[in-house]
Symmetry: C2
DNA sequence: GCTCGACATTAACATAGGTAAGGTCGTTGC
DNA sequence: GCAACGACCTTACCTATGTTAATGTCGAGC
């Protein structure tokens, strides 16, 4: 088993054996499967659970009255949807599967059980939700300031680094299930321009993207094109520099 | 005194007298003043406090290496910066004053004092932070899908409704301190185009904007232009429809 | 092996919005 | 009283990106 959540949280907090057992237990409860392109929860419904993505890619999206669709966030293995969502009366957006997806639903009670008496987990979960907020902010910068090429490069850098943190990459490659239409809905550009932009990145040898597999031969080079600064992902563990026994 | 925080939180939760006293007390502690355009906290610094805006407008922003600046969020009276920020090692963005600003710094200890034993306050604060996240998501939609006119109209609707919730409007008018440059940095467009867009809204009698005062004669009409759906602001109090004694 | 649908690609043309440059006006400082 | 400045406004021109539509590729099912 891969346990991407544990893998990711350990980037931030040192988890005890008991902490990890608790996380394994939570991930094994209330498991649900969705097929590709199926909605996990839809705008207007009342959220009853925090969703934990165990396998597959999902996304948050919103649709305007006239049909335009914007993808607002991607959920990768190990990602949690929204701590505390229970508080809200209804969803103001939808969450849909990109690939076939396996999730665990976490109830309010399960969340309390998981955090009370496990302060490291609680801290790590708040960290993860602060990072999610930081990612959303960076997307605002991306859409507001970067041009198409920079925007695409930035998204690819971010996804690759997040997948790496969840243990879903090998060397410089990862699975990449997004269609060009979905990339367009994410980056606020037409599919035609998505295509042009990908061609340009390929022509500069910055990416290889074929058969749903993305390879980034030189991540630093791609980051340079994107004006990508990884600080917003906060992947520096608290006190990391103080500890000699790092993996 | 205006107490915009209490005013806003009451849109969501029914606060007891003791709850309100606690909020008044918190807002009176560690008060700091900043002049217009001064930074409140800068990218790279370690966040030690949650900032509560008592008076004035502030913004979150990020600057790219080459100088492009994106405003990521506005903080209006009654807004809180980020619950739980203490967890992060360093700020990945800056917060700056737009107008002269009065804030209260809330330490971790003060935050605990304010929430433990005041579950209504705790709930209301989580609600406020979920709304802030929803606003950030809506900005993503705004930048990704709406054109310049819709985008501007949407921002104006949002700001007006948020100011209303904080008690900072009178009839259909509010103070509006943003320059056209700042609007451009918010909406990802040039000042020239901001100007064109404002002219267009004025010509359609959708707004009056003069001498730092914004008037929206027909909010519904502006919302229609913007494809504005207020659901993301979650201004519907839990159980509101069950209670006869609403103000 | 054929057909179909999903996705990718390409070209020709159209336009929203950017850039550069300059002008007006009101406020502040001296 | 006037220089300096910042906000706002305007015009002319240019380009990044959108639109439309035709064509190509490939895997799934029959």
């Amino acid at each position: 088993m891969r346990r991407p959540l544990i893998r990711k949280l350990e980037k931030f907090a040192r988890l005890s054996h008991a902490d990890k057992e608790m996380l394994v237990k939570i991930a094994a409860q209330r498991v649900r499967r969705f097929s590709a392109r199926e909605d996990i929860i839809h705008e207007g419904e009342k959220p009853e659970f925090i969703n934990l993505i165990n396998e597959g890619w999902a996304c948050r999206y919103k649709t305007l009255e006239d049909g335009r669709r914007q993808i607002i966030a991607f959920f990768l293995p190990g990602d949690l949807c929204d701590l505390n969502v229970f508080i809200l009366q209804e969803m103001d957006h939808s969450i849909g599967a990109i690939t076939p997806v396996v999730i665990s639903e976490i109830s309010r009670a399960a969340f309390d059980e998981m955090t009370i008496g496990h302060s490291r987990i609680a801290q790590a979960l708040w960290w993860e939700s602060l990072v999610a907020a930081a990612i959303q902010r960076e997307w605002t910068v991306n859409l507001g300031q970067r041009d198409a090429l920079e925007r695409m490069a930035h998204l690819l850098c971010e996804l690759f680094i997040r997948l790496e943190a969840a243990g879903c990459t090998s060397n410089s490659s990862c699975e990449f299930p997004l269609t060009q239409t979905e990339l367009g809905e994410t980056l606020g550009m037409s599919t035609v321009h998505v295509n042009r932009t990908l061609q340009e990145l390929r022509a500069s040898n910055l990416i290889v993207l074929k058969d749903r597999t993305l390879t980034i031969p030189n991540l630093q080079a791609l980051q340079d094109v994107a004006l990508f600064n990884p600080n917003y992902l906060h992947l520096d563990r608290e006190g990391r520099h103080l500890d000699a026994n790092e993996e």
